[in-house]
């Protein structure tokens, strides 16, 4: 009995000690209070959808905030066997590029479509860095519906950073290369850069409007103006030294690099005036037809290019210390924050001052037709005594800015206008981007800031050499930031965006209406199922419903045939996808939504009996949802036959 009492005492002491640590750690450890703030009861919904880039996974992950629960991984730039993305015949064209079929990319910056500078929940755009592309995700489907390749580009990093009414998404070259591409020596050759404007139609469809040819610096990040600065986009750049080797040292020589300020409304005028030259190029534009759900890939062979020297007033350089990374525009559109990642202080430029400096021609020099505005004529203030390695800034809509610091691994809160630092909180570890719901828009929803961390080291149970990366949810509703929650992420979370769930939830599609399905190989009813041979091409018109395939017995397939299973899910209900897999197939399953038709390509190589089945648990009789294909030798006289149930069809 006494022993037990002692145990209880020891336990209580440990608990007490822990809670003491919490308060002593500057809010670095989440407390019981924090648990309540992130607890979303079973069956209840989160307040925000958060869309996070998967970085080198090439995908987008969808989380709920404040719970940190993962809802879905949306395949974008990488094939996804789970969903058949890039494996089924319908989605293969989505990953076509001028280099051929590319199964991977490095996805960086998700950006929600905006109306009047406020996220509207229609689409999510995200850039692919390695093979320059921009993708559009339809937020009624949570699926990628369009990918456009960017010609004359390499390292599409400063992208998609759209304009206030989603007039354009933008792209900029982090890697400069010759345009057009050619065989030149690497040593001492200066390459080219481009800034690209992609027009977005009312229906969301992207089309490259024009490119601006710029000196081959490394264009790193961007943000388009808002409110008073609507009509402009700001791109940071580093390596103004234009070195091609050991950039770690050689691209860090200049005290100041630039923010490029592009007047895109002027650019539109120049294009109208015929100032753009048509460059011969080849790039792919891929999109999914809404009704057939089939992707098309189109080659485009020309692009309009503007040269700054021919277009006075198109673009200016704003000197900014030192190798600036993020460039973030405050909700009023007045302040342009340049995070000089190798500088101790951060420069904040003023849009009003920029206009005045342009009017007064306060330029220090001109580079390739681009005037460089005098630093002191454009800077509004410096944020000093911050941390080391500033990267990105978001805003809470209450006059405060929050900047991530990679080297000192913290978020620093400071006041716009006075530039004073008011609070700081450590991150675990090495924060890159940070995100406040609506935090780069005209009307931030505030409430939380999410730290997107590159390194977790000792934060989670170890999983071998590769560790998870993480997000940390921090409460910003009070004067002091308070850490609430850690949660692991998919791949490397670069940027993220969040918005209230109500802006998306009511529009979320439940199923595809079978009557509206215009897929040319759709089978509308079980009576119309059939198997058709034309030479060595065999098309199986198949249907599925809980819980059988029709047909589920197929004979007359031969080794070496090119078999297309066109499978239509006849369900017309919410949350009843069916899967399709077949023994030995060298691609991936189909995962077919209700009302959709998808196509599975199969080349049987050996004779035998091949079972196929539904891979997504669909009903109590899911295990029974299976069938057989009989594969005979090439040239065999087994006739093509198919049936479901006992009665064999013709």
């Amino acid at each position: 009995m006494f022993n037990r009492l002692l145990l209880v005492l020891i336990f209580a002491t440990i608990l007490f000690g822990c809670s003491k640590n919490e308060s002593g750690n500057g809010g670095a450890m989440a407390s019981g209070d924090a648990a309540q703030k992130v607890y979303v009861a079973p069956g209840s919904y989160d307040e925000f959808y958060a869309f996070m880039s998967g970085g080198f996974s090439g995908q987008v992950s969808v989380y709920g905030l404040p719970s940190g629960r993962l809802f879905k991984v949306i395949p974008v730039f990488s094939v996804d066997a789970e969903k058949g993305y890039g494996f089924n015949e319908e989605t293969k064209p989505m990953l076509e590029t001028s280099f051929g079929f590319v199964p991977w990319d490095d996805a960086h910056h998700p950006k929600l479509s905006q109306t009047d500078g406020i996220p509207d929940g229609r689409w999510l755009f995200i850039n692919g860095n390695n093979t320059p592309r921009i993708a559009r995700v339809d937020l009624s489907l949570f699926e990628t519906v369009e990918i456009i390749e960017i010609p004359n580009s390499a390292g599409n990093h400063s992208s998609p950073y759209l304009t206030e009414n989603t007039e354009y998404v933008v792209a900029g070259t982090r890697f400069s290369v010759p345009f057009p591409q050619k065989d030149v020596p690497l040593a001492d050759t200066k390459f080219d850069g481009t800034l690209t404007y992609i027009k977005v139609s009312k229906e969301g469809k992207m089309e490259i409007a024009f490119q601006i040819l710029v000196p081959g610096f490394d264009y790193d990040l961007a943000h388009s103006g808002k409110g008073k600065s609507h009509g402009w986009t700001f791109f940071t750049c580093y390596n103004t030294e234009q070195k091609n080797s050991l950039k770690e040292v050689n691209a860090s020589q200049n005290d100041k690099d630039f923010i490029a300020a592009v007047n895109w409304k002027k650019a539109e005028e120049f294009v109208k005036q015929g100032k753009a030259k048509n460059y011969p190029v080849s790039y792919k534009h891929n999109w999914i037809d809404e009704n057939s759900q089939i992707a098309k890939s189109e080659e485009i062979k020309s692009v309009k290019v503007l040269s700054p020297a021919d277009c006075p007033g198109l673009i200016y350089y704003l000197p900014t210390p030192k190798s600036p990374h993020g460039v973030d525009v405050d909700p009023t559109g007045e302040y342009i924050v340049g995070a000089g990642k190798l500088s101790a202080d951060m420069a904040v430029h003023s849009f009003d001052k920029l206009l005045k400096a342009i009017e007064n021609k306060d330029f220090e020099k001109v580079i390739d037709g681009i005037p460089v505005v005098k630093f002191e004529k454009v800077v509004a203030g410096m944020v000093t005594k911050t941390g080391l390695g500033p990267l990105h800034t978001e805003f809470d809509g209450n006059g405060y800015a929050y900047t991530s610091f990679f080297i000192t691994s913290e978020i620093v809160k400071w006041k716009l206008g006075t530039w004073e630092v008011v609070d700081r909180i450590p991150c675990y570890y090495s924060i890159g981007h940070l995100m406040i719901p609506g935090g780069d828009s005209r009307k931030p929803w505030g409430k939380y800031v999410l730290a997107l961390n590159k390194i977790t080291k000792d934060r989670y149970l170890p999983t071998g050499p590769e560790l998870t990366q993480s997000a940390q949810l921090i409460d910003i509703s009070g004067d002091k930031m308070k850490l609430l929650l850690d949660f692991p992420t998919i791949g490397e979370p670069h940027y993220a965006q969040a918005l209230p769930a109500d802006l998306i939830k009511p529009k979320s599609k439940q199923f595809f209406k079978i009557n509206e399905n215009t897929h040319p190989y759709k089978t509308a009813t079980e009576n119309e199922t059939k198997v058709v041979r034309q030479g060595d091409v065999v098309r199986v018109y198949m249907t599925m419903i809980r819980s059988h395939f029709a047909p589920d017995n197929i004979e007359g397939i031969q080794v070496g045939d090119k078999v297309y299973f066109h499978v239509t899910n006849l369900e017309q209900d919410f949350d009843v996808p069916h899967g399709f897999g077949i023994l030995g197939a060298t691609n991936a399953e189909l995962l077919i939504m209700p009302g959709q038709t998808e196509t599975f390509y199969w080349e049987p190589k050996k004779v035998g009996i091949y079972p196929f089945y539904c891979s997504d648990f669909c009903s109590a009789l899911h295990q029974e949802m299976q069938g057989y294909v009989r594969v005979s030798d090439k040239g065999s006289n087994v006739p093509v036959k198919w049936w479901v149930g006992e009665q064999a069809k013709k």
Binding site: I545, Q572, D573
Partner: protein, 153 residues
């Protein structure tokens, strides 16, 4: 020795199960008691769902029949054949077995019907596959009903 341990464990878990079960029994059920199976006259059972009253005209509406047949072909034939049992029962002669309201509620609200309606509960025991909700509108379901009136034995 091991056997002994197992049997003791078994008894303990048995006691646990019994005591848990007993606990449940003492609770007052939250839901109203389900209606008794109307074995005597299933035609009086209108089912559970949006349809409270259907009036069938003495004359069959041919336009509605055409529309109903089209909907039936598109949305129902994966599981129902007019004149023979398939995944689900054949609709021929259904008006002798079910009320028009029940039929429409089964089409429009199958999930709840399977959970609560005595006839639907009985059917799932016979047919194993639960009726799928194909999201017909009330107008579509009514037209399918009209089409069923034309099926002759």
């Amino acid at each position: 020795m091991l056997k002994k341990i197992y049997s003791v464990l078994g008894i303990i878990s048995l006691v646990f199960i019994i005591s848990c079960g007993g606990g449940d029994e003492t609770k007052t059920p939250e839901k109203a008691p389900e209606p008794a199976v109307q074995e005597s006259n299933p035609l009086e059972n209108k089912g559970i769902g949006p349809i409270k009253q259907v009036t069938l005209n003495p004359t069959i509406d041919e336009k509605m029949v055409d529309a109903g047949q089209k909907v039936y072909k598109e949305k129902c034939t994966s599981c129902h054949k007019e004149y023979e049992k398939y995944i689900g029962p054949a609709p021929v002669g259904i008006f002798e077995r079910r009320s028009p309201e029940w039929i429409m509620n089964m089409i429009l609200n199958p999930e709840e019907m399977i959970q609560k309606d005595p006839i639907a509960k009985d059917l799932i025991k016979q047919f194993a596959s639960p009726m799928a909700n194909q999201h017909l509108t009330e107008v579509e379901a009514r037209s399918v009903l009209e089409y069923f009136r034309t099926l002759k034995k």
